[in-house]
Structure formats: structure tokens, C-alpha cells
């Protein structure tokens, strides 16, 4: 048998190559190529170095501990998502375990790839910060490089352990969904936590800051901060703990995989025991509408990718709440309708699984796309209507009605932008693929939603003139979208 290190390298080389290509093909595709990444890194470095060189003193230990906690959360989310991909979705263990290669080498390679992936996920942000601190406050901050790797190791070990537990409980498919939801919630929690002092108002701000301080002042994040400042004892202790945790996780993994944990991938999501009575419809529009609505509602993975995007609206809305009170529901309903309609319409069109069936049928494609647009708008408008109902019950029925109208306008505009130009994508990747929208369509959708939400907000505040101007802009934007953006033929690879 070949030496363990050579076996490890064989598997690792292949894993890292695939990870890199997936990374380039997905979220980094907007950046286009390595040249752009290099430019962004250079700019971030220039900014960080300029800030640190001119700062009178280094950040406090607690601030650094908070920063490490933030990066740790991001790396944990990445590790969990990559663990489901690398360990349960790639489905190459039948090849790797059947080869004359040690299973430990295979799993150790997977762990190493996970550590590298977790570390890289924050590279664009963290690298300039570390280099800025070194340039501004001394070489002892080079310890941060080691902390970065150690924290990636801890995150990978924790992510794999957590994912493995979930897979055992739920099976791989449901575990993936849960991991995505938790990952999004982790990110949103950190984001909301950082924003909290800004939107809570003067009287609550000290309490919020004290609470955040207590959270970041835990022994682990303080140790990370000390290590980052070059404290060798802490660095050694962290390194030893990371190695021990990684070894334990690899051992756990090999045990789990020898027991057949990877086979859970094929476990069906759900079995139906009760008899289902189907109401047969005839009209193409209705059938397509219900088909696409069912496909959205029955896909928890998809919902888990889309719904957390509303969480990112919360800080702004909580800020508005201090001024508008219950009337905050008015812009919220508009944003929910606009944001989600656009995404669900994208899912119903770009994520359509059987374009071949549709294209070889004699069905008129325009009517079909309009039905898909309606299916994409149904759930968001139901949510918006619920918010408007709450607003009406809170004593603002007129505002509720106006908001519902504006929400409908924004939902229709956002959804039209998505169905007008369809580029089919695998359904599980379609939400990421929205980033490939042309800048014009991205800007158009955002401008429509912003003007609509602003109009609703001004009406809620009682400023009829500003509300009217914003509404006029929103209507003009909607008309412009309908006039300028025409339905284009399906873009399919021949």
C-alpha cells in the first residue's frame, strides 16, 4: 500500500480542485476571474492599512473577540453546508472506499478540504484586516494567521459533528435543509446582533451593548483574540485543541461511514400513507399555476433558501418602527411582496425542471410563463395580505388597502422581470443563480420595491405629498418595466 501521505494527497488534490471549480462556478462567478478578486483584495488591503496606520490605538480585546466570533460563525455555516456536499452529496465513496486506499486517508482528506474551504470563505474579509493590523500595530498580529487556520479547523470539526448528528436523526436530504436554515439563521443572528444597537433607540442602546459585550467575552473568543495578538501559549493551546478535535471528528466519521451513514442519502424525503384525492383541472393557466405553487410549497429546501432573505430587512424595519409604530407593516408588506415574488417567479421559471416537455408540446409559452408569474406571486401576496389585515385591525384600514395595492404592483413588476428572461438552472441552485441577473433587471426590481416601500412608509407617516411622489415614481417604474422589458425566448444550451 502507498504511504498514507500520498493517499491523502491523491484524494485531497481531487477534492480541492473540485471545490475550487464549484466556487468559481457559483458565488464567485460574478467576480468573473482571479484578476478581479486580486483587485478587490488590493483595495481592501489599502483601506485596512490606511485605517490601521492612522488609528491612535489598536482595537480593544473585546472588539477583536467579537470579530473572531463573527468570522467563526461564517466559517461554521460554510463548514456545515460543505460537509453535506462533500460527505453526503458527492456520492463518490463507492469509488474511494472500494479503492486500495485507507478510509482514514479519505476522510482525513475530506476534513482537510473542509478546513481549507471554511478558511477561504472569509479570506476576502479577514486577510486585509489581519494585514492592516500588522501594518498598523506590529508584527505580533501575525499570530492571527494561525488563529484563522485554527478557527477554521474548529469550525470544520464542529460543522461536521453537527451535520453528522443531523444526518443520523433526519437523513441526508432533510439534514441539508436543516443545515441551510440554521446556516442562514446563524448569519442573520450575527448580522442582527451587530445592527441591534443602531435600531433599538437611545434608551435601550447601553443594555444592548452590555449584552453583546457579555456574549463576546466568552473564554473561547477571548482566547482567539489573545492568540491573534501573538500570545504563544494561547496559540499552542488552541492548536492542540484543534488537532485533537479534528482527530476525534475524523475517527467519528470513519466509524459512522463504516456503519453506512453515507447510505442515508437515498432515504426518501417523505412517504404518503393517506389516500390523496386529486381535483383535475383543465385550463393550462390554472394547471400550471397550481403545479408551480405545489412545487414551491412542497420544497422545504427551496423555502429555506428564500425565506431567510426577509430577515435581512428586519434591521431597517425595526429602525422604522420607532417612528411609524404599527404603520411599519405597510412598507414591510410591500417589501415582502416585491422581494419574495421576484424570487419565487425565478424559481418557477428558471428552476422549471421539465423545459423539454414544455418546449416539445404545442402549448403557448407566453400563457404558461404568465401562469408561472402568478404562481410566484401567490404566496408572497398572501403574506402581504396577512400583514395588511393586521394593519387594518390595528386601526389603519385605508393604509392597509393602499399598501396591498402597492404590494401587488411591486410583486407583479418583480415577477415580470424574472419571467421575461429565463435562463434554466438546476432547481437547487436557482436562488444562487439570481445573482447572474443583468444589472438592469437587478436595479429595476430594487428601485421598484424601494419606491413602493417608501410610498407606503410616507403614507403611514401621514406625509401625503411625499407618499404621492413616491407612488407616482413606483407606477412610472412599473409601466417602464412593462414597456421596456419584453418576453424573450428561452435561453437553453443547444
Amino acid at each position: 500500500m502507498r504511504p498514507l501521505a500520498l493517499q491523502l494527497w491523491t484524494v485531497l488534490h481531487n477534492d480541492v480542485r473540485l471545490l475550487w471549480r464549484e466556487l468559481l462556478a457559483s458565488r464567485w462567478s460574478l467576480l468573473g476571474n482571479l484578476g478581479l478578486i486580486a483587485i478587490l483584495l488590493a483595495l481592501a488591503h489599502a483601506l485596512a492599512i490606511a485605517l490601521c496606520v492612522h488609528a491612535p490605538h489598536p482595537p480593544s480585546l473585546h472588539v477583536e473577540a467579537g470579530a473572531w466570533l463573527f468570522f467563526g460563525f461564517i466559517m461554521l455555516g460554510t463548514a456545515m453546508t460543505q460537509a453535506t456536499t462533500l460527505l453526503f452529496e458527492r456520492a463518490d465513496f463507492h469509488l474511494l472506499f472500494a479503492a486500495p486506499t485507507s478510509p482514514h486517508a479519505v476522510l482525513l482528506a475530506r476534513m482537510t478540504a473542509l478546513v481549507a474551504g471554511s478558511a477561504l470563505s472569509v479570506g476576502l474579509l479577514l486577510l486585509p484586516v489581519i494585514d492592516g493590523l500588522i501594518a498598523g500595530f506590529g508584527l505580533h498580529y501575525a499570530g492571527s494567521y494561525l488563529v484563522w487556520v485554527e478557527l477554521a479547523g474548529l469550525a470544520a470539526a464542529a460543522g461536521v459533528g453537527f451535520t453528522l448528528t443531523l444526518v443520523r436523526w433526519l437523513g441526508a436530504r432533510r439534514a441539508r435543509t436543516t443545515v441551510q436554515v440554521l446556516g442562514a439563521l446563524c448569519g442573520a443572528t450575527v448580522y442582527l446582533g451587530i445592527q441591534a444597537p443602531g435600531f433599538l433607540g437611545e434608551e435601550h442602546r447601553p443594555t444592548a451593548e452590555r449584552l453583546i459585550d457579555q456574549i463576546v467575552a466568552n473564554p473561547l473568543s477571548l482566547a482567539l483574540a489573545r492568540g491573534g495578538r501573538g500570545d504563544w501559549h494561547t496559540l499552542l493551546l488552541l492548536g492542540a485543541s484543534t488537532l485533537a478535535l479534528l482527530a476525534a471528528t475524523t475517527w467519528l466519521l470513519s466509524r459512522a461511514f463504516l456503519e453506512g451513514a453515507q447510505e442515508t442519502t437515498s432515504r426518501p424525503t417523505r412517504t404518503h400513507r393517506r389516500e390523496y384525492r386529486h381535483h383535475w383541472r383543465q385550463s393550462l393557466a390554472w394547471v400550471t399555476f397550481w403545479k408551480d405553487l405545489r412545487l414551491i410549497l412542497r420544497d422545504p429546501l427551496l423555502l429555506s433558501q428564500i425565506l431567510p432573505s426577509i430577515l435581512y430587512l428586519l434591521p431597517a424595519l425595526l429602525g422604522l418602527y420607532t417612528t411609524l409604530g404599527a404603520a411599519t407593516l405597510a412598507p414591510l408588506s410591500v417589501m415582502v411582496a416585491g422581494q419574495l415574488s421576484s424570487q419565487f417567479a425565478l424559481v418557477a421559471t428558471a428552476g422549471e425542471e421539465a423545459w423539454d416537455l414544455i418546449r416539445m408540446s404545442p402549448a403557448p409559452e407566453r400563457r404558461l410563463r404568465l401562469a408561472k408569474m402568478a404562481a410566484g406571486m401567490a404566496l408572497p401576496l398572501a403574506l402581504a395580505a396577512t400583514l395588511c389585515l393586521a394593519l387594518a385591525l390595528a386601526g389603519r384600514p385605508g393604509l392597509a388597502l393602499a399598501s396591498l395595492g402597492i404590494a401587488g404592483l411591486c410583486a407583479a413588476g418583480g415577477a415580470w422581470l424574472q419571467i421575461s428572461h429565463v435562463r434554466p438552472s438546476p432547481r437547487h441552485d436557482v436562488v444562487k443563480e439570481r445573482l447572474k441577473n443583468s444589472p438592469g433587471r437587478l436595479f429595476g426590481g430594487m428601485a421598484l420595491m424601494a419606491t413602493g416601500a417608501t410610498a407606503a412608509g410616507f403614507y403611514g407617516h401621514g406625509n401625503w405629498f411625499a407618499g404621492g411622489v413616491s407612488l407616482a415614481l413606483c407606477i412610472a417604474g412599473f409601466a417602464g418595466i412593462l414597456a421596456l422589458v419584453k418576453l424573450r425566448a428561452l435561453v437553453t444550451p443547444d
Binding site: P268, H272, M360, P362, P364
Partner: protein, 256 residues
């Protein structure tokens, strides 16, 4: 007048004239000429990359040919695509169905695409699901089906609107012996009732037993075509098997 009409040859179920499809510098189909009369089962054979699937996808209207024309039951696919597609059904080798739908919901969608009246479509869908042994699975999501069961459901969907021309890409792949027999019987019945089937297969035995005519593609060209006996004669293998002919035609040096 009636004598004149009777002496006219029937409209071909499928006619392809000079079909060409290129991907960059690679020519996938290089001038395919083909005429298939109604009520025939025609098998496309050829080694991997010969252009079988590309040809079927062009005939189904899923790929636009770079040159040439496809006519389905007398209607040009390029000039009158809606009417040309109406009598057509296509089942790819790995059909993509909606994982989160149930079989009846899938059939309902197919019926709506071909604008079938509900009163006709529903009983027909139920009968097809029962006939193909899928009725017991009608409450389950399609994602829980095996590959063979998915293949059968795709076939049920293809038959729902009573097509007159069926294009099937490797229809027996992934099917167990019983399911394969069921599908073969179904196709034979379809042809006996006047329908036309064009299928691709790698299983020469299937083509030999089922197909009335066989076309062998190589490098995007139809290099041999006809009934089994005619093919044997063309290849100088009188009394030989389809395997002999296939190997001779697909491995011979170009120009010979």
C-alpha cells in the same frame, strides 16, 4: 378523382431533409435524410456520439437544426410548430419529471399542455397508470420512484394525448425484464393501431425483434438503412445477424 387519391402515397409520419447540426467545429448530424411511413417502428442504431439523440431532439423541436427541414405528418416543424407538435410525443433517455408532484398531477399538467379536455384526459390517465402498474403509487411523490418507474410514468405521459408519432430515446434502459416486456408490448400495440415509433437503442436484439426498419448512424450520417434483410444485403452479410451488419458498417473505414 377518388382513384387519383387512392394511388397517392400516404403522408409520411416523419420526413427529414438534409438535417445538419454543428456544435462549434464538431458536426453532430451531417445531412440526415429520412422518410418514415405511418404505422412503422423504426430503430436508430449507432455507436456513442453517432448523432442519434441529437437527431431525435431536432425532430422533437428541442434543438434548432443549422440546416434542413423536419416534417411531421405533412406539417413543417419550422413553419407550423404548434400543429406539427400536436401529434408528437418524445421520451428522453433520462426523463426529467417533477420530483415533488404525484403521478396524477403530472398527467394533469401533460394533458393541459396538449389542451386535452378534462373529461377525456382523466379517465385516460387513470387507465394508463393502471395499465403500466403505477396506480398503486398514485399517492406518492415522483421523487420516491425508481428509475424504471419514472421511465414508465414518462411513457404514460407521452401516450396520454394519443400521439401518432412517438420518439423514444433508449426507452428500455433502466427497466427490469417484466417492465421491458410491458413497454415492448405497449409499443407493438401502438404501432398495430396505426401509430409510428422512432426509437434509439443500444440493444441490437430489441431492434432486430421489434423494428420494421432500421437506420444505422455513424458520425452524424445515415450509413445504412432498410429492413433487416436489406441491411444484410447492403453490408454483404446475407443471412447474417444485425450485430454482424452493425459491426461491419460502424467499424468499416470511411469510403469503403
Amino acid at each position: 378523382m377518388s382513384t387519383e387519391a387512392a394511388s397517392m402515397p400516404p403522408t409520411p409520419a416523419l420526413a427529414c431533409r438534409g438535417l445538419v447540426k454543428r456544435y462549434g467545429s464538431t458536426t453532430a448530424v451531417a445531412g440526415l435524410d429520412l422518410t418514415i411511413a405511418p404505422g412503422q417502428l423504426y430503430a436508430f442504431l449507432g455507436p456513442n456520439g453517432a448523432g442519434k439523440t441529437t437527431s431525435l431532439r431536432m425532430i422533437a423541436g428541442l434543438l434548432r437544426p443549422d440546416r434542413g427541414e423536419v416534417t411531421i405528418l405533412g406539417r413543417s416543424l419550422a413553419k407550423d410548430p404548434i400543429e406539427a407538435k400536436r401529434p408528437l410525443a418524445y421520451v428522453p433517455d433520462d426523463p426529467v419529471l417533477y420530483g415533488k408532484l404525484r403521478p396524477m398531477e403530472y398527467m394533469e399538467f401533460v394533458a393541459a399542455l396538449w389542451a386535452m379536455p378534462a373529461a377525456e384526459a382523466r379517465p385516460s390517465a387513470e387507465s394508463l397508470l393502471q395499465g403500466l402498474g403505477l396506480w398503486e403509487k398514485r399517492d406518492a411523490y415522483i421523487e420516491t420512484f425508481s428509475r424504471g418507474t419514472k421511465q414508465k410514468l414518462a411513457l404514460a405521459g407521452a401516450l396520454l394525448h394519443a400521439p401518432r408519432l412517438m420518439l423514444l430515446d433508449e426507452p428500455l434502459s433502466g427497466l427490469d425484464a417484466a417492465a421491458a416486456r410491458l413497454v415492448k408490448d405497449l409499443l407493438n400495440e401502438f404501432v398495430r393501431a396505426g401509430g409510428t415509433v422512432v426509437l434509439t437503442t443500444h440493444v441490437l436484439d430489441v431492434a432486430e425483434r421489434m423494428a420494421e426498419r432500421i437506420g444505422i448512424l455513424r458520425g452524424g450520417r445515415l450509413v445504412a438503412e432498410g429492413r433487416l434483410g436489406e441491411l444484410c444485403e447492403q453490408a454483404g452479410q446475407a443471412g447474417g445477424t444485425l450485430e454482424d451488419v452493425f459491426l461491419r458498417v460502424t467499424t468499416a473505414e470511411p469510403g469503403r
